[in-house]
Symmetry: C2
Subunit: 194 residues, 2 copies
DNA sequence: ACTTAATTTTAAACGTAAGTCAAAATTTAA
DNA sequence: TTAAATTTTGACTTACGTTTAAAATTAAGT
């Protein structure tokens, strides 16, 4: 790889990190290309040299965060251990992302609105892979007879939905600590798989 | 009430119904004031005679649909019967709205992005009321010892999240019929409350 | 029916933010 | 040092929400 190519990659990553910050504060619609640019002392025109358009930039931010979450889950799965413990760790990770990276983690919410067809395909692929990691642990649990589910994929959808909804109501400054929240969710989710 | 006032109300409702249709097809961002207006053979300027701005219009669409859903749930609750059956009916109603009125039912998703403070307050009030209806049936169930939940409101959040997520993946043309979906969801949700 | 007042609609603006582009500036490589 | 490649600029276009003053229409009183 040429020097110049590496430079472009570095710049792209700089832009991504900066954009992720702004998006997590102001949301997708609240974030302007102008603001992302000025944060890095560029003009917005330059952004279009690195990213095709706003939704491309947003897509890559989402991708960045989701890929990181994916890696986290993969390493939890690899570490192995009792299925219930593994699932609990996965739940903890997912909920933590959902809260801490609220906006970028869940651009997920309305992918069709924001992404074009090509991006959408990639998002869905990555998302399927991510969701598949939950299927994997559920499957393991079923095999060792610790989990039971008639339609495991539906159970997984229910679990994911329950966890994602956390963003809609949870406030860190509220009555429940993040730890409490995660404990409660883990317990309820395990009941689903009983 | 004067004739003119009634006329305004009728017109407002016409606009709402038309807007709800467009929003459910194209989503909030995909819907332009221009399009809503032209659907009714008006110019977009006129819309601003009836609604303060776009987010006011969208808010009222959401309100309209959510109010209808609320009435449906209230009448199910009033009818009474075995708590599990009542809850199942409520689940069916909620999921049906979530699928059929996808966009307007769940402007819910990101209320802060779209609504101003005043609207937000009203939305949250209505939403709390709506959610409270689920608390009510859960409470009934606990009292007759058919449901068990340590933190019933968290259980309710989990249930709502699970149901709302349906919009993200369910396709009527897919493998599962809406009936299958609702049956599966009901069964899983009842497990949460076991 | 006629006149005046109130209501409703219009069309032409404006503001903001996304996206484009040709030229200018800078960097790289020979 | 110079020519080519890369990167940045800023002015322009377009789209859409929103405002506004004036025009058109409708209602009400006599």
């Amino acid at each position: 790889m040429k020097l110049s190519e590496r430079k472009v990659l570095r710049k792209k990553e700089q832009i991504l990190l900066s954009a992720i910050n702004i998006i997590n504060q102001k949301g997708y619609s609240g974030t302007t290309m102008e603001e992302v640019a000025s944060e890095l002392l560029m003009t917005k025109g330059s952004l279009y040299y690195y990213f095709k358009n706003k939704s491309d930039l947003m897509y890559q931010c989402h991708n960045f965060v989701l890929s990181q979450a994916t890696k986290d889950l993969e390493s939890i799965l690899e570490d192995g251990g009792p299925v219930k413990d593994v699932l609990k760790k996965m739940i903890e990770t997912h909920i933590t992302y959902a809260i801490d990276e609220k906006e970028t983690f869940n651009l997920i919410m309305e992918p069709k609105r924001f992404f074009n067809e090509e991006q959408l395909e990639l998002v869905l692929k990555l998302r399927n892979h991510y969701e598949g990691l939950f299927d994997e642990i559920i499957q393991r649990g079923i095999e060792v007879d610790e989990f039971h589910a008639e339609e495991p994929k539906i159970a997984r959808m229910i679990i994911l939905g329950a966890m994602n909804w956390v963003q809609q109501w949870y406030r860190p400054e509220g009555r429940l600590s993040k730890e409490d929240l995660i404990t409660l969710y883990s317990d309820y989710i395990l009941k689903i798989l009983e």
